[in-house]
Subunit: 487 residues, 2 copies
Amino acid sequence: MLDLTVNRDSKPPLYRQIAEQIKTQISNGRLPANSRLPTVRGLARSLGVTRLTVQNAYAELQADGWVEATVGRGTFVSTAVQQMSLQPTVGQYLTPDSAINDMLAINQVIGVRSMAMAHADPALFPIEAFWGQMDRLKPDANQLLSYGPIQGDTGLRVEVSQMLQDDGIPATPDDILITSGAIQSIYLATAAVAQPGDTVLVEQPTFLGVLNILKAQGLRPLHIPMQPDGPDLDQMEQLVSRHRPRCYYTVANFHNPTGYSISAAKRQTILQLAQRHNMLLIEDDIYGKLGFAGPPPPSFKQQDGGDRVLYLSSFSKMLMPGLRVGYLLMPPAWRDQLLTLRRATDLCGTGLLQRALAHFLQDGGLKKHLRRVVPIYRERRDALLASLGRWMPTAVRWTEPQGGFSCWVTLPRRLPPGLLYRQALENGFAFTPGEAYMMEDTGHEYLRLCFGNLSAEGIEAGVKLLSTLIQQQLDSGQTRGDWLPYV
Amino acid sequence: MLDLTVNRDSKPPLYRQIAEQIKTQISNGRLPANSRLPTVRGLARSLGVTRLTVQNAYAELQADGWVEATVGRGTFVSTAVQQMSLQPTVGQYLTPDSAINDMLAINQVIGVRSMAMAHADPALFPIEAFWGQMDRLKPDANQLLSYGPIQGDTGLRVEVSQMLQDDGIPATPDDILITSGAIQSIYLATAAVAQPGDTVLVEQPTFLGVLNILKAQGLRPLHIPMQPDGPDLDQMEQLVSRHRPRCYYTVANFHNPTGYSISAAKRQTILQLAQRHNMLLIEDDIYGKLGFAGPPPPSFKQQDGGDRVLYLSSFSKMLMPGLRVGYLLMPPAWRDQLLTLRRATDLCGTGLLQRALAHFLQDGGLKKHLRRVVPIYRERRDALLASLGRWMPTAVRWTEPQGGFSCWVTLPRRLPPGLLYRQALENGFAFTPGEAYMMEDTGHEYLRLCFGNLSAEGIEAGVKLLSTLIQQQLDSGQTRGDWLPYV
């Protein structure tokens, strides 16, 4: 792994040469955090230097915080140095692709206050209760760590179908496909119903993951503006008549990134439009159980008599994303095709976590968890709205989300998006620029702030900083320039 | 979930009507094993019958073994009844798709002795050691149950790159993509390098999962006969010159389903051929660490100076498939495309299991496990070969696998494939018919027997039964007829 050379004729002492090369390899990612360095003896032998030389190199690295030594286990690249090497890697581009990468990378960095990711707060995860369910499964571990059913753990499908029925959606366990999260559900659903070259209707802005999925499958997104009560129906009617999109992907409840929900009236009209033009719906209800003022209007699926709606959700936002468990309700007409695709993409999920989740649901763990956390997220939403009202320049506008984790902020005019993003990061604060959620080269006057993951104090501090940066840019009179790469 | 009706004018008593409808729903899969039935009170109310009626229905179901009642938790569909309802669902078709389904379904059935699946023995899984690693992670559970890096847990990538280096394959942690098993690695690799309509070279027979993957992606398989030392090179040269396949998918070590390995000489020739015709290689080394007579010849990847070989493997066969952890070594030229596809298909894997696996590897757990289990699998291979020699009709032939789990049996002539499969199942024994591994409508004189999963005694009993059935068919003079659906 380590690719080191030493030059005996060179000026810096040997131990320093070794230390510097290791630092470089840590910085450029060749040696990630938690990598184990070779033993002193091993490295000394392979480089043909004395052990003392290597010991000195390691000691220097340790003193500067690049590595940590654990007695009896060895020397490891420190996790703290990720911070030293992060900044050059984030913010380079603002495609949906890179925005996801940035979010995940920023998430690992200590010291950055991130409102970039629509993410439940890990500190609120019900670890004890879930771990207890896992422990109870140890006697079955041999079976649960074997291959599981393609459709997912039977017990979990029973519980999920029960949840759906409680929400007014008829479903048997056999209709449920357990997936590795909403992304996989969307991927499978679009791959099943659409062919490369087909058009797919999406909201503008929309969940950035779906833009990646459509691109990967050679599908062409068409977009309709999202309004506070749902998509613009006039434009939708025109687009659908003209382009005959194969399906419409929608986050009808607590929409990401705007926080809007589609009104009951618009849902009915859209469903009729879909029927008239033989358009399918892919209904992503990942935030549906995170409503601050009660449940959202009846879902599209609830009103779908037949095979028009492919409904999906996930435990990522309402529980824990690391479970990698989502679900897709398979209409009979698409069942075989969906199972065939699942079999071809990754065969099956992890039985152990699925079964533990089934027991957790059966014991009422999810309901209990939601009763606890939804009020906390509501408070954070309130803190965000209060902070925005208090600190933001008057011309800035924002949405008032009734659930979920996303708030959509509109700037008074186009500001250099990279500059704002970069300045915020340099001050230890992250958000996601609006263009990540839009078709190419639009969205420069928007940004998304997520409030699930920070305390009320953290939210206020972040908003205050961001407000200052926006005010400075407004004052400077700068308008939108070209995107400046971060490096 | 339960969709029941009662008819007061009908002959059978009400409790019997209820019980029969529940049995039907269990048999047809609407009510899978472990489903919870409604409470007596709830069902009585919803059907408008007395509680005694429901109690009688449940008591009858319980007496016949269809359901199990657990005090304080409710009434559940019994797992044992899967057996009652299995037979109509397996063996209906013999496509690669359905063969995988059958294998997984059969795997769940108690009482069937299955040599159908190339599967490590769950009884040998190192549960204690792995569980110990999970327990140590509980303090980090909040982080490990959040979203993880798209490329996979850093610690795991460090360990995997170390493993690869020990095998003579240069790799840094940053070159590794952790996937949800070999199927996902193959799916991503083919999707990255080939376009719909492209041809892909595969061995004949080949791993049936790859046939599903190619079909799902609109790729066209070309096949070359697999010989004891690898593919037929003359045919390969002709096919490659003529069709210019984009890539060649190969299981070079302990090939599934034949058990063959490609010789060192043929590997070199193939690599030269690939270079000459600009063909990529997808090298699936999932069985490479399961050699009974030492390690296999140097891998294609070891001899690949650059970007020609996409090497992949998985912990499914060498450790536990339920981890859903495989890995793909990304050549720099394909790195971005592979990460983009992973992001679009399922974002990331389960950090908790990945990190536990990293610690397990770091502590030498895998090496220790392999030292223990490979000799056991070797003994089972020996038991299989001895049993085949002792019981099979003289005209039957088979391979002598030097690793992995698969043995490929050739019958003296085409027998009605469905009949043999069905008769074996009826006698509680499962294998996989050869046609699952071949292009359409070929392979009727082959079958695969897997020896990883049964004791020596179980293997002998299975082979003895199968030998008797084959002898009966040979005696009856039947030749290949049309495929008879099982139902």
